[in-house]
């Protein structure tokens, strides 16, 4: 999808005032997307943003493309119908952690397993923003919120693990403090044929300020963020002081490269058909002692849903020709009543 005249960010900005709280991480995601689209030669008229309900879900209003602000949790389902019937469009799905994992969890995992040609971007702020601060399915255990005054008793989902468990073909994570990385990941998601799932750590400075500070904060990144890079050894820390290797039990362990060298360190391969290692990587960073990986966990090829259906239709058309009503009405036995 290329266009002759080069567009700019401005072309992708709608005339609606952006109404997020000042300081909200959503702004930087919006900027990243608005900057990315011209760069990848997306066309305004062929781009559609579909969202559910939530702060994040206000996103489509701010994009000067086609858009639907639908209902809570259902964006992946609405988008599925659109993407299946209109393979010529770029369909983006935007939503929060509540929208996508709480009420919309089922539609998400089904869209992923079906590999519908969508870029699904989940803004994870680990809170319900729009409804003013209840815990979400990604909030940490024990979190005190308006609806959990004594601490939440819910084990959170790990969105990456869940997506991989749901047979997703493209799974990635990035965060709102690093525009370049966001753009890289979103670009890759866009390029992936099929369903791409991108989790973006997003700061809600009103109801859950600093939720990711310990990981994404400028001072913490070096030790706490691990950037996965295709074909490269999985290293992190100052001067790549640490690496990630297999342990004996199918899990991962951290190696001190100074002591152990880099021989054991895993090379990251996004295209492995076996998702086991991608899954293992998604478990990193749950313990405080480990780094949290960002980047592309998995990016495999599998025929996307729309293509499968198109192929079927092609075959049918080839065999049967274009449908004729006249033939259809006579596809069962008929009889004639005379004058």
């Amino acid at each position: 999808m290329t266009t002759t005249e080069k567009l700019t960010r401005k072309d992708f900005m709608s005339d609606q005032e952006v109404r997020w709280c000042p300081g909200c991480g959503d702004y930087s995601i919006l900027a990243a997307v608005q900057l990315l689209l011209p760069e990848i030669n997306a066309e305004k008229n062929n781009t559609v943003f579909i969202s559910g309900i939530g702060c994040a879900a206000r996103f489509p209003y701010y994009m000067n493309t086609y858009g639907v602000h639908s209902i809570h949790g259902r964006a992946p389902a609405v988008a599925s119908g659109l993407a299946i019937t209109r393979p010529d469009l770029d369909v983006w799905v935007i939503g929060g952690d509540g929208d996508m994992l709480s009420i919309g969890g089922n539609h998400l995992i089904h869209a992923l397993r079906r590999n519908i040609n969508l870029v699904v971007v989940m803004f994870n702020n680990q809170i319900y923003g729009l409804t003013k601060g209840q815990y979400s399915p990604t909030s940490e255990l024990g979190k005190v919120t308006k609806s959990s005054p004594f601490g939440s008793a819910d084990q959170p989902f790990n969105p990456i693990s869940l997506a991989i468990g749901a047979e997703a073909t493209f799974v990635a994570r990035t965060h709102d403090m690093d525009r370049a990385h966001m753009q890289y990941v979103l670009k890759r998601a866009y390029e992936h044929q099929g369903a791409s799932f991108v989790e973006i750590y997003q700061n809600c400075n009103v109801f859950n300020d600093g939720a990711f500070e310990a990981i994404t904060g400028k001072e913490n990144r070096q030790d706490k963020l691990l950037t996965l890079k295709e074909g490269e050894p999985i290293l992190f820390g100052k001067d790549d002081a640490y690496g990630v290797a297999l342990n004996d039990l199918g899990g991962l362990r951290i190696v001190d490269t100074a002591k152990e060298g880099t021989g054991q360190v895993l090379i990251h391969e996004e295209k492995r058909s076996d998702p086991s290692l991608a899954f293992a990587l998604s478990r990193l960073g749950i313990a405080d002692t480990e780094p949290r990986p960002i980047g592309i966990f998995r990016d495999i090829e599998r025929e996307d849903y729309g293509t499968s259906l198109s192929v079927q239709q092609e075959n049918v058309l080839q065999k049967q020709g274009k449908g004729s009503l006249s033939k259809l009405f006579r596809s069962q036995s008929t009889w004639v009543v005379g004058e």
Binding site: S14, Q16, K44, N45, N46, T47, V48, F49, I50, I53, P60, Y61, M63, N64, T65, Y66, G67, V68, H69, S70, I71, R74, A77, V78, A79, S80, G81, L82, A83, I84, T85, R86, D88, L89, N106, H107, H110, L309, Q312, Q313, V316, L317, Q320, G321, K322, G323, S324, L325, S326, L328, F329, R330, Q332, S333, T334, W335, V336, V337, G338, E339
Partner: protein
């Protein structure tokens, strides 16, 4: 229930069933027991046993076929019936020997296990009739009777050869379930008759029950019957069920509108067959999507509509509840969408294989906020075709979700469908926006998605892909015209009223309600949906007896045809028969402040002609 066919009437207040099989298959016993059960149940009946002259003709041949026909009825009858309405065929020979008697639309239940190559040959079939479409005009249930009987008897360790003998009881159990015969007399009979052989008692009991349960599990419907071809208007006909007619109507409408169709659906009885049928029609640019649930089904359909297809979703019972929220979104987005509701007995899971008309108020009001949605209802199996086209027309012309109501009785019932000439079908014109429709004060030309057509109040649709018309829509209240988010109180009131006015205005496009009133009656029977056939028959019967009665049937429940107020004002008394507790009556009373007489049946089964006749007669008698 009587389906009218000119002079010929097959009165379905009665049933004619013929059991046919090999002489060794126990058909006489089956027929006899079916009859006995019916007798105990209190039916009038007449039977016609028919068996081969030879003591035992070669198994599997035409000559060896034995049959038993019985007519049972809820009124006086005098014959075992001219032809069967249901044929049970235990093998190919039984089918071949009896099929000629079965009118088109009749039901065949046959033992598919017996249709192997050798048996087919013995019966003189060169091809398997179950597979070659030669039975298309019937309603065929191919059931693995033998193997299911063997399975059922496994637990008691019966030898297969012995167990197989019980298959007549399997068939009897199935038919007993299908036609709601009492089970206990047969179970008692089995115990008494085979008392000397415990294993046979066991085996027959297990087989009989397995047959019943199969009927239940397989969710086979009671069907309605149809009619010899002779007295129909000239034309080419095919025998069609409501669900097939509805599917074809959708395909035809999309075809006439030159649009792709997208069906988002989740299986549910009795709507699933529409999904099955439509999934075959990729050649018509029909895409079917078996969604993860009913919510995703309707959401995906709405997404497809946004993309320029005609989005359709089909469901029943609980499925319709789940779609409410999304239908409300469609009301707000003002996108075309057809929601097909094949009504079944509720509440909750209710009676999933039975028919009811009990979703009318739900589809009218079952959304939060003020969210009006047009409602169209089909009245006969073949009429589902027309009703589907009408639903699509309204959805596209007015950019609105439309409920299309059918029910389990129409869905599975069949009748002859006069095949229309493709060109006879009206074109459906859909205009998409291609350029800006508004000049702003600063001179910029923009697209305003809620700048309406003055006449229809329909908003313009700009399909993604259209250059320069990029816009965003959503479920928050929108400013009139621009469609931008608006919390303005007066704008909200205006939009609520406008959405209502748009739906009300559909009546401008509707023909007047036709009243069938040859004699200037004082009483009107007003119906909607599947009660049509019964009402027509009842009114005909009474007219033949000299009574004067008017009759009208509503296809549009929201909005009503414009002349309905006038029609109602003409009649002193109005009878509204419904398979619910009086939902149309409720609407009519409120809207027209007209007192109407209700006739309600909530048994999951259609009215009998006699019930409607009785209600009318009692109204006639209390008249003045």
């Amino acid at each position: 229930m009587t389906v009218e066919t000119g002079k010929e009437k097959i009165n379905l207040d009665s049933l004619v069933i013929r059991f046919a099989g090999d002489s060794g298959d126990g058909m006489q016993v089956a027929g006899d027991r079916f009859t006995a059960g019916s007798a105990i149940f209190g039916n009038d009946l007449a039977t016609f046993p028919n068996y081969p002259a030879e003591i035992r003709a070669p198994a599997g041949t035409i000559a060896g076929v034995s049959s038993f026909q019985v007519q049972i009825a809820d009124h006086d009858i005098y014959t075992p019936g001219d032809f069967p309405t249901v044929l049970v065929a235990m093998n190919p020979a039984a089918l071949k020997a009896n099929i000629a008697d079965l009118p088109s639309g009749g039901v065949i239940i046959c033992n598919i296990d017996a249709f192997d190559q050798r048996s087919l040959e013995k019966a003189g079939y060169s091809q398997n009739p179950l597979e070659d479409k030669s039975l298309d005009k019937y309603k065929l249930y191919a059931v693995p009777i033998t193997s299911l009987t063997l399975e059922a008897c496994k637990s008691i360790g019966a030898k297969p050869r012995d167990a197989e003998r019980s298959k007549n009881f399997f068939a009897l159990g199935l038919v007993s379930w299908l036609y709601d015969r009492p089970y206990q007399p047969t179970l008692d009979f089995i115990r008494a008759r085979y008392a000397k052989n415990a294993q046979v008692v066991e085996a027959n009991t297990l087989a009989f029950n397995a047959g019943r349960y199969f009927g239940e599990t397989a969710e086979i419907f009671e069907s309605s019957y149809t009619v010899p071809a002779s007295s129909l208007p000239p034309g080419e006909y095919t025998n069609i069920t409501g669900n097939t007619a509805l599917s074809w109507g959708l395909v035809a409408a999309a075809n006439k509108a030159l649009l792709p169709m997208f069906l988002g659906s989740y299986p549910i009885t009795p709507a699933s067959d529409i999904l099955h049928e439509l999934s075959k029609h990729k050649a018509f640019n029909v895409t079917t999507f078996q969604a993860e649930d009913e919510i995703a089904a309707v959401c995906s359909a709405l997404g497809a509509s946004f993309g320029g297809a005609i989005g359709v979703t089909t469901t029943s019972g609980p499925g319709i509840d789940l779609k409410s929220e999304t239908v409300g979104l469609a009301v707000s987005l003002e996108l075309p969408l057809v929601i097909v509701d094949i009504q079944r007995g509720g509440p909750s899971t209710g009676l999933p294989t039975k028919a009811e008309q009990s979703d009318l108020l739900h589809v009218m009001f079952g959304r939060h906020g003020e969210a009006p949605v047009p409602v169209v209802a089909a009245s006969t199996p073949a009429h589902c075709f027309e009703a589907a086209i009408e639903a699509v027309r309204i959805a596209l012309a007015y950019r609105t979700p439309v409920y299309l109501l059918s029910d389990g009785y129409l869905a599975n019932g069949a009748e002859p469908f006069r095949i229309p000439d493709e060109n006879e079908l009206p074109a459906i014109e859909v205009e998409f926006a291609t350029k800006p429709n508004k000049v702003l004060p600063d001179g910029r030309e923009v697209f305003w998605p809620y700048l309406r057509d003055e006449k229809t109040l329909a908003r313009p649709l700009a399909v993604p892909g259209t250059k320069g018309l990029e816009h965003r829509i959503g479920g928050i209240e929108k400013a009139d015209g621009s469609g931008n988010i608006s919390y303005d109180p007066l704008n909200h009131e205006f939009m609520v009223k406008t959405r209502q006015a748009k739906v009300d205005g559909i009546s401008e496009s509707l023909p007047d309600l036709e009243v069938d009133d040859p004699t200037g009656a004082d009483i009107l029977v007003l119906g909607w949906g599947s009660t049509y056939g019964t009402i027509v028959a009842a009114v005909d019967n009474l007219r033949q007896s000299g009574y004067s009665i008017a009759r009208a049937h509503l296809m549009h429940l929201n909005p009503f045809p414009k002349n309905l107020a006038e029609v109602l004002s003409v009649y002193d008394k109005v009878l509204i028969p419904e398979m619910n507790s009086g939902q149309l009556a409720f609407l009519i009373r409120s809207k027209f402040l007209k007192n109407v007489t209700q006739l309600n049946k909530m048994q999951g089964i259609p009215f009998k002609t006699s019930e409607i006749e009785a209600a009318l007669i009692s109204m006639l008698l209390t008249q003045n």
